[in-house]
Symmetry: C2
Subunit: 348 residues, 2 copies
DNA sequence: TTTTAGCACTCAACTAAATAGAGTGCTAAT
DNA sequence: ATTAGCACTCTATTTAGTTGAGTGCTAAAA
């Protein structure tokens, strides 16, 4: 799809992008000639820059300014040019393990890592709470809270807990509750959650309704709540480092800044922002590649983190299109790896 | 402490503050004379304004500008001048009850109300998750997760759930766990949480250690986790409406905006910001009354919400000192009342 | 054919000066 | 005690002028 540029054009584009990422200003031919030892004069570079502009890799804010990379230019940089040699990960790994030790429970871990990621990248970051695909339920407990409330607690084999309060109309005595509880334990623990699909629930339902005098309505509620835990519609999302956005000169425009912050303020738009394919390890969305038009001057780096082979959550970093891609991408890679390990192994 | 101003000075100060809250600009004598029917000429108002400045209620950005209220001026306004007739609360109450119905669990309710409060006030808002003072534990369940992990689930009589994963070195069989569980149920449920103090735990400890062969270390861990649930060191805090901050012209200064957002970005500073006395129903902190110097161009309205007579959480609204105090205060009052009811009565 | 030196041209950004206008403070009359 | 009137102050806005980074083109050199 993307036609490769010849060697010299590549070098020049590379130099311009690197320079622009540092200075945040349009880059001129003389700067490149002086700072980057390409063995050609500024005039030659000038001609090449005109070509690169015509090909769509560069843009010119106005006639007498230097060039800035276009989204296409950044895309070429990310796909082909940049050297992805990564960062020194020692400190990152150390900090991560400290967080894991200090925090208990999924909330603390995920929000701690979100903040840490933003401190390392100096951009705004977001991480969704994991869904528990590819785990097994190791415990199910139905606790009577009051006459019309049951608490359903489910523990996954990787050590996380989910609970739901269930409103019931029908009063159930403790014995019956214990019976249902045991029934559920038999049916749904120690099985991969992915296999607990609709068909399986239908089977359970039939059996349970036959065996005890449990109203259809009650079963539906319990059923629904279990499914909700296993496959939540509404996943929490954590965000950190919002104020780093203001360090970037492209957000000095208050009106624009407001649009961006407004998106970060609302869970629904935020989730839409870091929607990504589950099967890709890492996804970089540059400028107009973002669906939301308010985000089209931003880039987002999104990674999945996993349990086994299933993506269970997303890690995202948001910055201007002039983002330090190599640093961000390798940081996100490391964090998603480690987070995958943490949530997979909490219990092992 | 605050000496009362005479009637005319009061009216003029009142008019200036109201005008300034609307326009966000320095207010001149002629504007007041024209817009507010005080029955005196601009020259008289001018003289009074000079007096009010000398008394510290007004400030002049520069010689040829109008006046703006000082923190002292706002304080006088909040304590004495403003009419606290409140807002039309119908819509607010309706929205609140919708949130309560739609959301289950404390996270959803508190974060939903935080967002709603910011939408109503158009300022940034924050609400802490409730601590469970003045409730009783209605259920305690110790669930074996693995050989070295127990899950402790506690349900309060107002229907909220807290859980902690406990790492244990000693392997416990199910019977022993059930024994400890029953023991705990007997000892700590159905008692007001406030009475479960250190002495009481010492008693329990003695008894439990005597009766079963439970290592001191294990008891300490369980003990600690129970205390942590009852009196958490680390309370979650929710924040909403950050982007509304940008609507206020006083935050057009990017450097200042960054300082403020930075405070909102970090849980520790955020909590410090809405620290307030537990016994006051509502607290308004104007400008320099805020401890953090980055906040001294802001005002914060803080209310406690309660279970019974105990403050269990805080509601805060953050805006510029030029905040619409009457509207914010009455909104916060209503929300804290309702939130108190919601968390007290979830289960009744 | 490719590269480069040289130069006229462009245009945003900055600077300085001029102008407008909102508002004050004081004085003298009411 | 109040107010009309006016000189004075100071910011904000406008306008004109200047600077300088950077381009694109041309013609010579490699």
């Amino acid at each position: 799809m993307v036609k490769n540029l010849d060697r010299r054009k590549s070098s020049i584009l590379h130099a311009i992008i690197q320079e622009h990422i540092i200075t945040a200003s349009p880059v001129g031919s003389r700067t490149i000639a002086k700072k980057y030892d390409l063995g050609v004069s500024s005039a030659t570079i000038r001609n090449e820059m005109a070509d690169l502009e015509e090909l769509g890799y560069l843009e010119q804010p106005h006639t007498s300014a230097g060039r800035i990379p276009s989204d296409k230019g950044y895309r070429y940089y990310v796909d082909i040019l940049m050297n992805n040699k990564g960062i020194n990960s020692d400190k990152l790994i150390k900090t991560l393990s400290e967080i894991t030790k200090a925090k208990k429970g999924i909330h603390g871990i995920v929000s701690g890592i979100t903040n840490m990621l933003s401190e390392f990248t100096k951009y705004a970051t977001m991480i969704t709470e994991p869904e528990f695909k590819n785990t097994k339920l190791s415990e199910v407990q139905l606790i009577k809270v009051t006459n019309n409330k049951l608490l359903l607690v489910m523990v996954t084999d990787n050590g996380f807990v989910s609970d739901k309060m269930i409103n019931i109309q029908q009063d159930l005595d403790k014995r019956k509750i214990r019976y249902i509880n045991n029934f559920l334990v038999n049916k749904i623990t120690d099985k991969n959650i992915n296999n607990l699909d609709k068909n399986y629930f239908d089977e359970i339902e039939d059996e349970l309704l036959k065996k005890i005098n449990l109203s259809q309505q009650l079963f539906n509620i319990i059923n629904k709540e279990i499914k909700e835990i296993i496959d939540p519609r509404d996943v929490n999302i954590y965000i950190g480092g919002t104020s780093y956005i203001l360090d970037q000169p492209e957000f000095n425009d208050i009106e624009y800044l407001k649009k961006v912050l407004n998106i970060l303020d609302h869970e629904d738009t935020l989730k839409k922002l870091i929607t990504a394919e589950n099967n890709k390890e890492i996804e970089v969305r540059i400028g107009h590649e973002n669906e939301m038009k308010e985000m089209q001057r931003c880039s987002v780096v999104i990674a999945n983190y996993t349990i086994g082979d299933k993506a269970v959550g997303k890690i995202g970093v948001l910055g201007p299109t002039r983002m330090e891609y190599p640093r961000v991408i390798s940081t996100v890679n490391i964090v998603s790896d480690i987070l995958s390990k943490i949530i997979s192994e909490v219990n092992k």
